[in-house]
């Protein structure tokens, strides 16, 4: 595979487009590029910033890989992310009350519950699809909207802080937070967890029987059916696993970064997992690469917004052009599109 050469070409084209964008918005090009680069890579703070942003992206991206590989077009990562965190916060609230320090493995418990929460939320859409034929695309869009409202309700109702003033949960004690490597940076154990998950998922998809069946169902559910594999069951499990991964992302964001939930907790990570996964060709390891690309891009452009008059909005423009440049060039370079003549099937 000459993937590396391709990647290099993409990177070059991408930089050109970025420069043009900056010029279009009359930002000093050299300084801006330096700010973006510094924001993503210059020192340990920058690297940590990139890693922190990569973490939820990678986990939700992996979640999307699982579902899309099974042929279920889950676009409900955002809702699953949020509901996972809500579940985790419920346990967190209990642990705070029960003097958390006394409970070993409290963070692990919260993470597991987050995964379960995300899995349940995704399972709803999966069940609707498998048993009632409701397209996942629509049910997950609707469930995303509902999840956001559920969060609002949770943090101003049952999970609200003790003082009952602000719609947010109580801050978790340090003993429950994921370990950080350096108190000066935000990067936390969740990043390692996400990378481990990418490896685990690679092994699962390509090395195990269950992973093979999942891919087979995604490719042709009818073939699976006549070979005694129940596509519905596989897709339902895939959906739950996918949701678990997104829920875990929510948990990692909660335990690793913020320590409390409020209405501003959702930052679109669940949604952005989709382009990340697709950019990674629905392959876990390449998805890790895509997540890092996005993470660094976010970290860098944020830095640009921080120290220039360029606001968040220009950041969006830069991000959009970067993504388009990347995929555009990869489209140009695509050595050989998949042969259509034989991939389309005979109507029966």
């Amino acid at each position: 595979m000459n993937g590396f050469l391709r990647f290099g070409l993409l990177l070059a084209g991408l930089i050109v487009v970025l420069l043009l964008t900056l010029a279009a918005f009359q930002l000093p090009i050299v300084d801006s590029v330096k700010l973006i680069f510094d924001g993503a890579f210059s020192d340990k703070f920058a690297w940590s910033r990139s890693a922190v942003k990569m973490t939820p992206l990678l986990l939700t991206g992996l979640g999307m890989v699982i579902a899309w590989r099974a042929g279920v077009y889950n676009i409900g990562g955002e809702g699953q992310f949020v509901v996972g965190a809500i579940f985790g916060a419920a346990v967190g609230k209990g642990l705070i009350g029960a003097n958390a320090a006394a409970i070993p493995g409290g963070s692990l418990l919260i993470l597991v519950v987050c995964a379960i929460g995300g899995a349940l939320w995704a399972w709803i859409a999966g069940w609707l699809y498998v048993r009632r034929g409701v397209e996942v695309v629509i049910s997950t869009i609707l469930l995303n909207f509902i999840a956001i409202q559920l969060l609002g309700f949770a943090v101003s109702g049952p999970l609200q802080e003790q003082k009952r003033q602000v719609p947010q949960t109580d801050l978790l004690p340090d003993s429950l937070m994921l370990a950080r490597f350096d108190r000066q940076t935000d990067v936390h154990l969740g990043t390692v967890l996400a990378l481990v998950m990418a490896v685990v998922l690679t092994i699962f998809l390509y090395r195990t029987v269950a992973g093979y069946r999942l891919r087979l169902v995604g490719d042709n559910p009818k073939v699976a059916r006549v070979n005694y594999i129940d596509p519905g069951r596989v897709q339902l499990s895939a959906m739950a696993l996918s949701g678990a991964m997104c829920g875990l992302a929510g948990g990692v964001e909660y335990l690793g970064l913020v320590g409390q939930l409020g209405t501003t907790f959702p930052q679109q990570w669940g949604f952005l997992g989709i382009p990340v996964a697709l950019l990674g060709g629905l392959n876990p390891m390449l998805t890790a690469g895509a997540a890092f690309f996005f993470g660094a891009l976010f970290a860098g452009t944020e830095n640009l917004a921080r120290f220039t008059p360029a606001g968040t909005t220009i950041v969006y423009v830069i991000q959009a052009t970067a993504v388009l440049a990347y995929v555009g060039l990869s489209g140009l370079k695509k050595a050989r599109p998949k042969p259509e003549e034989e991939t389309e099937s005979t109507p029966s």
């Binding site: 910033r49 602000v166 950080r180 000066q184 935000d186 970064l257 409020g262 930052q267 921080r306």
Partner: protein, 316 residues
């Protein structure tokens, strides 16, 4: 391994230079072009820039990123970082001990340290007056309010609005606040305003920021009175009075105290006494307000200013 936020302080390179340059940053949750809460702070920041010839910067920062943003500014030698919202108080308390040379101030919030403080705008005072005006002037006997989110900073003002209304007219019916839930959704704000006008409300106050246009529009179309908030919005169509914040003097004073190194980490309550909070009737509408009501409002304002009347406010 993990390190708690209370561990020993590390000194960072890039601490404020002795060059005398004064650097101020502002963090907001939303766009500073929201014609409301954030744009008010942005104006004040520009006031600091021009009056104190400071270097200023501003950024939209969600709370999840707050610590990173605070550290970056501190590392770049910023002397003062404003976080315009209670959401920034916790991150400031967490980061503050590491950067003793930078002062962190959030709008609202309860945690303080030697270099961490909070500002509390007593906007309730002017909402109280708005409630009085509405209650007295309402022909239907029903008034209402439209808000973007169910959050304490908003709810506290709406409670004061209700308290003022009840104080002026015990028989007034104050509809419970209604929320449209999505920032910047003008159409929803408008639709929601129409639905409370359908409940007979003829005075509507808002906490809708950029979506306020929808509230005013609905009021103007249905011929009811709108009340502006956060900024003086008396020039908008259909607005009869505004309850607002004049942020610049307060921000400036604070910035000066930081520059003079007289700042103490504390929670500062700024209200009508310092002229930061104000209430003003639209001059065009003034003719429709009976003289005794104007007198009552003026007296109440004076009582608030001198502390004789303490308007209720929530803690958050």
């Amino acid at each position: 391994g993990s390190t708690g936020d209370t561990a020993k302080t590390e000194t960072k390179e890039g601490a404020p230079a002795a060059s005398g340059e004064f650097k101020v940053a502002l963090l907001t949750l939303g766009s500073v072009n929201d014609s409301g809460w954030n744009s008010m702070a942005y104006e004040a920041l520009n006031g600091i820039k021009s009056d104190m010839s400071a270097t200023v910067d501003n950024q939209e920062v969600p709370p999840t990123n707050a610590k990173d943003a605070l550290r970056s500014y501190a590392q770049k030698g910023y002397n003062l970082v404003f976080g315009h919202g209670y959401e920034y108080n916790e991150p400031m308390a967490a980061v503050g001990p590491d950067f003793k040379d930078t002062i962190f101030i959030s709008s609202s919030g309860g945690k303080t340290a030697s270099n961490v403080g909070a500002f509390r705008f007593y906007l309730e005072q002017s909402f109280y007056l708005a409630g009085m005006l509405a209650a007295k002037q309402s022909k239907t006997g029903v008034i209402g309010s439209v808000a973007v989110l169910d959050i304490p900073s908003i709810n506290s003002t709406l409670k004061a609005y209700e308290a003022g209304a009840k104080a002026a007219n015990p028989n007034i019916k104050v509809l419970p606040p209604v929320y449209f839930g999505v920032e910047n959704d003008i159409a929803k704000a408008k639709q929601l305003t129409e639905s409370i006008i359908a409940q007979k409300a003829d005075f509507v106050i808002h906490q809708a920021n950029a979506a306020a246009k929808g509230v005013f529009d609905a009021c103007a179309e249905k011929g009811v009175s709108a009340l502006g908030s956060n900024l003086n919005q008396n020039s908008e169509k259909g607005v009869v009075a505004s309850a607002f914040i004049v942020a610049k003097p307060a921000f400036l004073q604070l910035a000066k105290s930081v520059k003079d190194k007289t700042f103490k980490g504390e929670i500062v309550l700024v209200g009508m006494d310092s002229g930061t909070i104000d209430f003003e009737i639209n001059p065009e509408y003034k003719s429709k307000v009976p003289a005794d009501l104007i007198k009552l409002l003026d007296e109440t304002k004076e009582n608030i200013r001198t502390g004789k009347l303490v308007v209720p406010k929530d803690e958050f």
